[in-house]
Amino acid sequence: MILGKVVGTIVSTNQNINIKGAKLLLVDTCNTKGEQNGDFLIALDLVGAGYDEVVMISQSTSARETPMTKNKPIDAVIVGIIDVMDEFEKVVYKK
């Protein structure tokens, strides 16, 4: 998985994703301290991630391993919201 920070939302009515209640979030990949890299991607939100939260994103085929995205044209999903991250026994990120 990769780390990303939720920075916005994408609205699309004319689409072929056909997932009811699909929420597409604009995510900026970030480092372990939550600093953004400026490399954006769109991910389907499965866990109710809010603005400015650091999340875990799963990409490519495994993005379809959830009941909501089975056989759907989705290649990036938010699979978890990060509460705490530590590196070498030092907390580097806390929600």
């Binding site: 920075v7 916005g8 939302t9 994408i10 609205v11 699309s12 009515t13 004319n14 689409q15 072929n16 994703i17 597409l24 604009l26 954006f40 991607l41 769109i42 991910a43 603005y51 990409q59 490519s60 085929t61 993005a63 379809r64 056989n71 759907k72 044209p73 989705i74 290649d75 990036a76």
Partner: protein, 100 residues
């Protein structure tokens, strides 16, 4: 998925059998804030009927084949949504048919 803009179409008469009958688009990946092109072009199949200059959502990899139109088509990039608006940090950076 990544954001891209439809900058052109591709016509190919000599191609893989399964690719026939599906529209090919020329896309340029864009930055969601400035909407400027990143000079990174992709040839992608079109699953929603996107037109020129529209901002779209591009699915890559095996996800591109999961739509009814692209089932069994040897594509690894498909337009799966036409973007109506992009909101970042509480502000709209793009709204369709509203020139900011």
């Amino acid at each position: 998925m990544v954001l891209a803009k439809v900058v052109g179409t591709i016509v190919s008469t000599q191609k893989e059998q399964n690719m026939e009958g599906i529209k090919l688009l020329l896309l340029e990946k864009i930055d969601p804030v400035t909407l400027n092109g990143k000079n990174d072009f992709v040839v992608s199949t079109d699953a929603v009927g996107a037109g020129l200059d529209e901002i779209v959502c591009l699915a890559a990899g095996s996800g591109a084949r999961q739509t009814t139109l692209t089932k069994g088509v040897p594509t690894d990039a498909s337009v799966i949504a036409i973007v109506d608006s992009i909101e970042k940090d509480g502000k709209f950076t793009f709204q369709k048919n509203k020139n900011l």
